[in-house]
Symmetry: C2
Amino acid sequence: MVKLENMKNISLSDSVINLDHGDPTAYEEYWRKIGDRCTVTIRGCDLMSYFSDVNNMCWFLEPELAEAIKELHDAVGNAATEDRYIVVGTGSTQLCQAAVHALSSLAGTQPVSVVAAAPYYSTYVEETTYVRSGMYKWEGDAWGFDKKGPYIELVTSPNNPDGTIRETVVNRPDDDEGKVIHDFAYYWPHYTPITRRQDHDIMLFTFSKITGHAGSRIGWALVKDKEVAKKMVEYIIVNSIGVSKESQIRTAKILKVLKETCKSEAENFFEYGHEMMKNRWEKLRGVVKESDVFSLPKYPEAYCYFFGKTLGSYPAFAWLGTKEETDLVNELRRHKVMSRAGERCGSDKKHVRVSMLSREDVFNVFLERLANMKLIKSIDL
Amino acid sequence: MVKLENMKNISLSDSVINLDHGDPTAYEEYWRKIGDRCTVTIRGCDLMSYFSDVNNMCWFLEPELAEAIKELHDAVGNAATEDRYIVVGTGSTQLCQAAVHALSSLAGTQPVSVVAAAPYYSTYVEETTYVRSGMYKWEGDAWGFDKKGPYIELVTSPNNPDGTIRETVVNRPDDDEGKVIHDFAYYWPHYTPITRRQDHDIMLFTFSKITGHAGSRIGWALVKDKEVAKKMVEYIIVNSIGVSKESQIRTAKILKVLKETCKSEAENFFEYGHEMMKNRWEKLRGVVKESDVFSLPKYPEAYCYFFGKTLGSYPAFAWLGTKEETDLVNELRRHKVMSRAGERCGSDKKHVRVSMLSREDVFNVFLERLANMKLIKSIDL
């Protein structure tokens, strides 16, 4: 066993590590320890129909998932669920596109401008351009956006890639042509203090980033307006005729256990996640501090209503910068670390996005390589 | 128990029955009898990563699903799998859009025309129009299509809605601007004789219509050309960052059992499905024959290599016509039967598509209502 472990480390120490995607495998260990309580068993004759609940506008949403979502938000206190429609999606990726589609189809004129304040989640660019829709148009950075006509602002808070707390930046008082989609993928207690119960028109959440179950492809939207929710549902029907029932049932079960652990001292998932993230960030800040060439954003502390104390932020991605005039993504690649280029996020070559959610051994190799890069750069200077 | 059954029937006899969608719940009984062999158990720590196989171009495809797909096609003999890329999708719905997107993005000029011979699957219209893409344009009926430039023909065989065996109809010799997507959702032995091993460039299949597991949202494409497969994968990455792992794992397990039953006398799923479909079609043809107002297509018999004998076709949908000058979809709706309007399929008011895959009790209520419609029509005449 020890021998195998060593072999694994040797092989890892040679290989390229991929921190470009935010693959949240960091949490596997927790779910392994939780044991059978999250195990789902599905028989051959289960979940065969397209329909989950013919009386729900979102007829492909499993009722027990809807219930689990509401209970979890209630327990965490991060979002209002009452008087809202829940729309389930194949990840929040599909839901973001469904929301842009819905808002655009309800707008008076098209194409509707879509913007996000830089640095933004690079995938927004691809999501709003790849089908070359005539309904909406990616207009890039929301800072300084001043085009007339209807627009959609994507607000991610805490922000991907840089972890900052965000609000809308397009400021048009009394303008009812502006719509906002709030992406709250990371508004959970292990990443950031829960400072308020969010209460916006369209709020997106994803299973992936809460518990680490990215492979399930489950996201949900909490939507105030009935017409918007209806259009989102229509989009998902044409796009994929609903969402995997197996994933929904499993998500429901895990979210229920997650909610139960909220009250537990020993097993609280958010406590576990918070400690892990804090630990990783402290290590990373340690390496960066030792270096003369790297930088990281600083986050203010805030009172977290979930934990009942003042805490810092420990985002799912590190927005790593360099003080050198260098192409950081290439620099890291030379050191066998794949990251996401700042330019793809509407920023510059001196920044990259690095996932903080890899498995522990991969994260440690990353720290090691980063520390070595610093040394090499120092010699270069 | 008997009382409850009766109550259920009473309630069904009053309610609207929905045969608009092809919800394939007819097969539930078979899978109930198969018992534990298809049961999957998924632990909390399983299937967490986005990635299934980083060495596969389609990195979100579970290797055991790929294996099960190849083995099933080999056992049934309905499609060639060698020297092909397998792309998994959230149903063949997502894959059809991925294929149209891929072929369009590789075309010299855009928008690429998309056509299908009428009567066609009505959802093709929605799939190719809802995002108002600039890359492709729905041009409707392939019969008589003569627009210059690149085009994609969607060929569904057996056809949805009318069950006929189809080949391409746009005839442009030596024209390399024409591409074809073959939708083989219904090319399985319970619906139609397997007369050849299909060997086309892009072939789509869906789990839903083989075994009835529509809720899993799993489809796959067999793709010859590497660039096309790559573009399809790219589409699915942006559209939903892959496909539910839970659904894939479960599909793999069920397809493996399905393949095993192919060799069994007592449990052969296709034998079971074939008998059920044949029985339903005979009953339906009986009702239609008794009527003066309805019509159904006739299908030629053919030698089925899977069953090793000459057999008829028993499609998943009935393409019901009327000899009267009437709006058949409304006529049926008045009798509490929801069906899909022929006009939505590029046909006329005198035709509707009716699902043959409902639960047995629903199917019987449909037959009853159809028989009564005949009587009412006769009195009217």
